[in-house]
């Protein structure tokens, strides 16, 4: 690298990156998702996946689940910055390795192939609660729920068997046991 000419071009040492899952409870109002997502893009944070839907219609609360990576310092910043947004009620943040939290992602897979290959595909999917949503002579649409990296693996593995289309929800999370996050 040529010698930098200004302070802006001197990066400090990069730390180790962790994957974290943020769960954000927000008022379900117009623009709220843009605020959250804009915060990430504006401050240079990364979004690996994003899932959002209203969870409480009477209180108008939406739950946003964001998978992101960053150094511990950045993860801390994300949390504090999210909390500063006016429509944000609370923010939970879990490490991906956290055993007390369930992470799940749903995927719809469309396989177009001969019967034999389809059978093979369904067999491969067995571990991930497959539900057949549609079936024809030449194709099948199957729903699976699994971890993110498991779905990554599955889509790779099923490609040769005729996987033509994948649709994924992004991860959602919930703590185990009777406790809820306050």
């Amino acid at each position: 690298m040529p010698s930098p000419k200004s302070a802006y071009s001197i990066p400090t040492k990069k730390g180790k990156l962790d994957t974290h899952i943020f769960v954000v409870w927000v008022d379900n109002e117009s623009g709220v998702l843009a605020r959250v997502v804009g915060l990430f893009s504006g401050r240079g944070y990364n979004i690996e996946s994003l899932a959002v839907a209203e969870v409480d219609a009477t209180k108008n609360i939406s739950r946003i689940t964001i998978v992101t990576t960053g150094t511990p310092q950045v993860i801390d910043q994300i949390k504090l910055q999210l909390k500063k947004l006016v429509p944000v009620h609370k923010v939970a943040d879990f490490k991906r390795e956290d055993k007390n939290v369930i992470f799940k992602e749903m995927a719809l897979l469309k396989i177009v192939a001969q019967k034999k290959k389809i059978e093979k595909c369904l067999k491969e999917c067995k571990k991930f609660n497959p539900v057949i949503l549609d079936k024809t002579n030449k194709s099948v649409v199957v729903q699976i729920t699994a971890l993110r990296r498991e779905i990554d693996k599955m889509s790779k593995r099923l490609k040769p068997y005729g996987l033509t289309s994948t649709s994924r929800t992004g991860a959602i999370a919930m703590t185990r046991g009777a406790q809820t996050f306050k």
Partner: protein, 588 residues
């Protein structure tokens, strides 16, 4: 059934309830209903600017000098986009602004209508929060919430976008109940335990330094008083960021000057060598820290701030205290007085060596410059301006560049809210409209914009505003015909390739002043300077003062970018200058 009011009436009812006295604005199609209503509300005075950016900066000047939120009123489309710079500026420097913008009628939103733009979309990243009012019933609630968001916690700008049909629509108005001051309680999350830890660190430190910022000013004038008491009690040296100037008296012996890129030698060296760093209401900005990896390497760091997201953002600290600056220091003082009465004396002994060291650094006289009797040196001009105005309560605004740093270095502030400068965003063109706002808030005080000739031309049209409202602002231009700071960087970092930093066709500022209907004064030799400055001060009306200064003067000391605090380039008075400059040039 309660009486129904139009949206425009509700806007004013809310402003009245919030005790707003001034709005800075510019009319246009989409806010005409609000402008139509203006005549029925005599307690609210509208200041007509010449460009919406000017409205925003004027409101900032008003807010920063008075402690009250500034209110801006602009139209849709270009009105809103023109105010974006000022909103971003206010966001970076934590200035409470409430901006009301008109919008095209709801049924036209999204159709690329005339003067339509996605105002809430554009201003989302540069406001604390913004609202698009789609239902007239929501308007009163949103208006009051907007004031609350802007003024509580870490202050900042907010925007309310009101479509034209909402301004005509009718709803009932529920009176706003003023809540008890939220600023303190809701954001004071600190515990006595943390205060104890702070006092423990204070009582052990051998080389401490207090580093204060704009948070002290934002905490209110009382915070500055508390800070003074605190710093006198513990006997530590204190330095301040650009935004914090005035919170602690600039001519006090415990004050070691501003720190950072153009801070004093003693302040930066103290930051580098200290063993305890107490940050009060500052945010470890990159102009302060220099090279992060070598920032104050030997110190325990304490950070007192109202905004939790400021903590550990750039510099990891050992003790974080989240709370209102005034409240935190007050508790600390209380504890010290109660438990550690002897602290004052024991501290003095423990840190006496440290003070000796600081005195040594002070002898470098890092703000020194070689004066001339032929040309006016810009530093000399600021010094004279200070000497000739220090006997009265003077408010200073600045533009951005060399003149801004010289003003910060050589003008000594003794009270908070007297210094308005664009620090975070560094907005050229800030000072003139800000001076308009300051003068509105303090009609009988002396308000001076220390300006550069390049910056001031960016918002020069606001002179017309000053003339319209008889605002006797003084625009003191340090005219070096260059974008001075750009020229300085090009000289030091880009092999003297002065690419586009010279202004070829500058206007005659005296004639320009006359064209605006105000007074123009020109000074170009040091002998006449004092006399002419006095003439400016004594003139009852706006003045543009064209002070021709040495075009080749650089702003020193300077920490070359990407360097730690103890490797500064000092000015021409320093004997080692050549060596350090040479090294600085090749390394930066």
């Amino acid at each position: 059934m309660s009486k129904l009011y139009t949206g425009a009436e509700i806007v004013f009812k809310c402003l009245e309830d919030q005790e707003v006295e001034y709005i800075f604005g510019y009319p246009g199609g989409a806010v005409l209903p609000i402008y139509d209503e203006l005549k029925n509300h005599s307690s609210i005075k509208h200041i007509l600017v010449r460009h919406e950016q000017g409205a925003g900066h004027a409101a900032e000047g008003y807010a920063r000098s008075s402690g009250k939120p500034g209110v801006v009123l602009v139209t849709s489309g270009p009105g809103a986009t023109n105010v974006v710079t000022a909103l971003t500026d206010a966001y970076m420097d934590s200035v409470p602004l409430v901006c009301i913008s008109g919008q095209v009628p709801t049924h036209l939103i999204g159709t690329d209508a005339f003067q339509e733009c996605d105002t809430t979309g554009i201003t989302r990243p540069c406001t604390k929060h913004n609202w698009l009012v789609k239902d007239i019933k929501e308007l009163p609630k949103i208006m009051h919430e907007a004031f609350k968001v802007a003024t509580t916690g870490r202050p900042g700008p907010v925007l309310i976008d009101i479509p034209k049909d909402i301004q005509f629509a009718k709803a009932s108005y529920t009176k706003f109940k003023k809540e008890k001051k939220l600023n303190g309680i809701a954001h004071n999350k600190f515990s006595q335990n943390e205060i104890d830890q702070l006092i423990d660190l204070i009582s052990k430190a051998k080389k401490p330094v207090v580093y204060t910022g704009g948070g002290v000013i934002n905490s209110g004038p009382q915070a500055s008083e508390t800070l003074k008491e605190f710093v006198r009690l513990i006997g530590f040296p204190i330095t301040s960021t650009l935004q914090g100037l005035g919170a602690f008296p600039g001519d006090d012996n415990q004050f070691i000057g501003m720190l950072g890129m153009h801070g004093t030698y003693e302040a930066n060296n103290a930051m580098h060598d200290c063993d305890l760093l107490i940050n009060i209401g500052a945010r470890f900005d990159d102009r302060i820290t220099g090279k992060i990896d070598e920032f104050s390497p030997k110190s325990k760091k304490v950070h007192i701030d109202i905004d939790p997201s400021s903590i550990n953002k750039i510099i990891k600290v050992d003790l974080a205290i989240v709370g209102d600056v005034n409240e935190v220091i007050k508790s600390a003082i209380k504890k010290i007085n109660k438990k550690q009465n002897g602290l004052k004396d024991s501290n003095k002994q423990r840190i006496s060596k440290w003070w000796e060291q600081i005195q040594k650094w002070r002898t470098k006289d890092s703000l020194g410059f070689i004066n001339s009797d032929k040309e006016i040196k810009p530093q000399h001009a600021v010094k004279r301006l200070y000497e000739l105005t220090k006997n009265q309560d003077t408010f200073i605004t600045t533009e951005v560049g060399q003149h801004q740093m010289w003003a910060a270095q050589h003008y000594k502030f003794n009270k908070p809210n007297r210094w308005m400068t664009s620090g975070g965003l560094g907005t050229m063109g800030y000072g003139l409209p800000a001076a308009v706002g300051v003068q509105i808030a303090h009609p009988d005080k002396l308000v001076i914009d220390i300006a550069g000739e390049a910056s001031v031309l960016m918002t020069m049209q606001e002179m017309s505003t000053a003339v319209q409202y008889n605002l006797p602002i003084k625009i003191f231009i340090l005219n070096n015909q260059y974008m001075g700071m750009v020229r300085q960087w090009q000289e030091l970092l880009h092999e003297k390739n002065y690419s586009e930093s010279y202004s070829e066709a500058l206007p005659d500022f005296v004639k320009l002043a006359e064209a605006y209907g105000c007074k123009g004064i020109k000074a170009d030799n040091p002998e006449e300077l004092d006399f002419k400055i006095k003439e400016m001060i004594d003139y009852n009306g706006p003045v543009i003062f064209d002070c021709h200064v040495d075009p080749n003067e650089n702003c020193f000391p300077m920490i070359p970018s990407g360097k730690p605090h103890n490797q500064m380039i000092l000015g021409p008075n320093d004997k080692e200058e050549n060596k350090i400059t040479g090294k600085g040039k090749s390394l930066v």
